[in-house]
């Protein structure tokens, strides 16, 4: 195992896949000469040249669409968004075209494209830079959505995403890029899309948390352990396809569940998991599923308001206490 920063794990995945397959290229704002807004593509230009590492104008709709057309016509683009908050401008290409072209032409088109970049909030950036979009994209058929929490997952899953013949949204976090973690040194390290992971075993409550929220859940679990509550944390890693059996099996053991999600509450990941659990694990529930999400409010700027807005360990602990009837 090597200890890598999150951004290094991303870079390794891209690097390895570009070395492996000539048709893979990366484009996005500041990916080439600037070496990546978050240095996730550092050194790639030097290694692969201007043909395969391409700076784009600030033109999300335009370059996302060019990516879609290139994917249709035989290439394997990695389209980097500086943040998924900007990808909203390209949503027509992702939602109306990448996800649908294959189906509406009766399977004549395949779409091996990865849209990647940081998702959700990153501190005091205000309302337009702070939204988590994984649930939104997962709503649409034809898209796969990954939002990883640790460098190891990021590397293995990004490599899978680049090799996938379907459109994949791969989400990261500005705040996690510098985070270090052990990454497998296995040659050609691949994690299959759609497999979650039990990141902490426990018997009292299942906490489902992905992306940045995994770390919040982890913090809460450490606190709760001192109180004698044994938390099991499941990181689905892939939002869609969802590893539902892993979650259900855990709940059969713990009988309680809290979902921690960085999206807003309405019709989000947490809502979906809650529904699925009541359907698949109804007889195993000892308490209603609880969720910790953003409030139904835009991201504020002021530090105190922002802190109140973002889910934290205390909220997770409160929710765990609720489902374990400890309050």
């Amino acid at each position: 195992m090597a200890e890598l920063q999150f951004r290094e794990a991303i870079r390794e995945a891209i690097d390895e896949e570009m070395a492996r397959e000539e048709k893979v290229f990366i484009m996005g704002e500041e990916v080439a000469e600037y070496n990546g807004a978050y240095k996730a593509t550092e050194g790639l230009l030097d290694k692969y040249g201007y043909k395969r590492v391409i700076d784009t104008p600030i033109s999300e709709l335009g370059f996302a669409g060019i990516g879609v057309g290139a994917a249709m016509n035989g290439l394997r683009p990695i389209v980097e968004f500086m943040t998924f908050n900007f990808a909203v401008l390209a949503a027509d290409q992702i939602i109306n075209h990448a996800s649908k072209a294959g189906y509406m032409t009766g399977g004549q088109i395949s779409m091996p494209i990865v849209f990647r970049g940081p998702n959700a909030s990153a501190g005091q950036l205000g309302a337009t830079h702070s939204v988590a979009y994984d649930s939104m994209y997962a709503h649409f058929p034809g898209l796969k959505v990954i939002y990883t929490s640790e460098p190891d997952d990021a590397k293995g899953l990004l490599k899978s995403a680049i090799r996938d013949d379907n459109p994949v949204l791969f989400m990261e976090s500005e705040q996690m890029y510098g985070m270090k973690g052990e990454v497998s040194e296995e040659e050609d390290y691949i994690i299959p899309i759609g497999k979650g992971k039990i990141k902490r075993e426990g018997s009292d409550v299942t906490v489902v948390a992905h992306g940045k929220m995994y770390h919040v859940a982890k913090q809460a679990a450490a606190q709760l352990e001192k109180d004698g509550v044994d938390v099991e944390i499941i990181d689905p890693r892939t939002v869609k396809p969802l590893d539902l059996p892993l979650i259900v099996e855990s709940i059969k053991k713990t009988n309680r569940c809290v979902v921690v999600d960085e999206a807003h509450p309405f019709a989000g990941f947490a809502a979906e998991i809650g529904f699925l659990i009541q359907r698949e694990a109804f007889d195993y529930l000892d308490a209603p599923v609880q969720r910790v999400t953003l409030p139904d409010v835009n991201a504020p700027f002021a530090k105190n308001l922002f802190d109140a807005w973002l889910p934290d360990a205390k909220q997770v602990i409160d929710a765990v206490n609720q489902v374990t009837y400890r309050n």
């Binding site: 195993y284 529930l285 000892d286 308490a287």
Partner: protein, 427 residues
């Protein structure tokens, strides 16, 4: 606003009901849940409950009269309220329109729900339960009479055969959760041990359940209106014991109890003493053509009296199996009204608790009830020698309006003879 009390649908097949009794008079104030009348349906005598608060402004039907389903029986309202319009329309309201039928159906189901909550297991409320919101019934019973339990708790209880109504919920709103089921069995014996710590039990007010109310009303009525008298007789049970052993040994499937033998003996005796198999109806004494013996069954929440119909015509094996089945249903609160109605005589047996003898209160509208004590080992004198004997005391409570002392004694002697010579029951 005035509220019409209409004949509810109290059985699947009923088309009309006879007002057996009004429990209220015009001018009485009633609250929701009060039993305002008793109605004889085609199946049983059922209680009619008020669903609203108010004053009884008008009673439109006399006791003994029949009212079609949905027909107007009475009017509730505020004192002095003008109900002339309702009364004018009363003629057309007795036609049992389907609309009214459905209303009646609703009231029945509400009543049933109410009845099932009344079992709340008040006596089981453990001192531990602090979260009990109502404090008066089982904490797990919600506002709408449902037992609140997590899906897991329900499944666990089902798997373990635990009656949720007996479990205290420690969750929000008294929800029964996993831990409550897990600790349910564990705490039962533990409670006895912890008694040594001399912890005080919590003082509390326990709301009177509908069943308790019914027991209270019917038995007080019986005790205070029926002139009871009591006669006790001591019965030699040696022959009965031998006969029972023989029967049970002969057939593995049969497990006849002493109570079954007493039921059979009484049933046969009742055919020979029809005045005991009677009811008081003020102007008339009704001697019943059939013998239906009720057996008192103690359940957690109170007492139920399922009826063995035509018990005189049934063999011991059948009486035995029916009694066991009915007692089971009674404990599960699953007895249907028709399984509790129509008794002509009742037997109450506390022998299994070692009670030597006791007196029971007559179960109306019966004329008599037999209280059965335990079979004792006693020294008896036989042929001038003291030998070990088996004796059982039974006490007959009789309504003196129907049965006189000598008649009661004759009946008791018949019962005694039958039990002492069990083979004669077969005659």
């Amino acid at each position: 606003m005035a509220i019409k009390i209409e004949m509810p649908k109290l059985s699947d097949t009923m088309e009309e009901g006879v007002i057996a009794a009004w429990n209220v008079q015009e001018g009485d104030k009633v609250s929701a849940g009060d039993i305002i009348a008793e109605v004889e349906t085609d199946k049983a005598t059922m209680e009619v409950e008020a669903f609203d608060e108010g004053t009884v402004l008008k009673i439109l039907v006399d006791e003994g009269d029949a009212v079609p389903l949905g027909g107007l029986m009475a009017v509730l309202g505020e004192e002095g309220e003008d109900i002339s319009e309702i009364l004018e329309n009363a003629g057309s309201s007795g036609s049992g329109k389907s609309e009214k039928k459905s209303e009646a159906k609703e009231s029945v189901s509400e009543e049933k729900e109410e009845a099932s909550t009344s079992g709340g297991g008040a006596t089981l409320t453990s001192p531990k339960s602090e979260s009990s919101t109502s404090g008066d019934t089982a904490a797990s019973t919600g506002k709408h009479g449902r037992i609140l339990a997590s899906p897991l708790a329900r499944k666990m209880a089902e798997d373990k055969g635990i009656d949720l109504s007996r479990v205290n919920g420690s969750g929000p709103n008294g929800r029964i959760v996993k831990v409550d089921i897990e600790e349910y069995k564990e705490t039962a014996p533990a409670a006895a041990a912890s008694a040594q710590t001399f912890q005080s039990l919590e003082s509390k007010e326990i709301k009177v359940s509908q069943m308790r109310k019914t027991i209270a009303r019917r038995l007080s009525e019986s005790k205070f209106t029926n002139p009871h008298f009591y006669e006790t007789i001591d019965i030699d049970m040696k022959a009965a014991i031998a006969a029972r052993k023989q029967m049970n040994d002969a057939n593995e499937d049969v497990k006849i109890s002493f109570n079954d033998i007493v039921v059979k003996a009484c049933s046969v005796a009742l055919t020979r003493h029809p005045y005991v198999n009677s009811s008081w109806h003020d102007d008339v004494i009704k001697q019943h053509g059939d013998v239906h013996v009720a057996v008192a069954v103690a359940i957690e929440e109170g007492l139920m009296t399922p009826v063995i119909r035509h018990s005189d015509k049934k063999g011991l094996a059948q009486i035995s199996s029916e009694t066991r089945e009915l007692a089971g249903l009674a404990r599960d609160r699953k007895l249907q009204p028709e399984q509790m109605e129509g008794s002509t005589f009742t037997i109450s047996n506390l022998g299994m608790f070692g009670i030597e003898e006791f007196t029971a209160i007559i179960n109306p509208p019966n004329a008599c009830i037999l209280a059965v004590g335990a079979i004792r080992d006693v020294p008896v004198v036989e042929n001038g020698e003291v030998v070990p004997g088996k004796r059982m005391k039974v006490t007959l409570s009789s309504d003196h309006r129907i049965v006189d002392g000598a008649k009661a004694a004759e009946f008791l002697n018949t019962v005694k003879n039958l039990l002492e010579n069990p083979l004669s029951m077969l005659l």
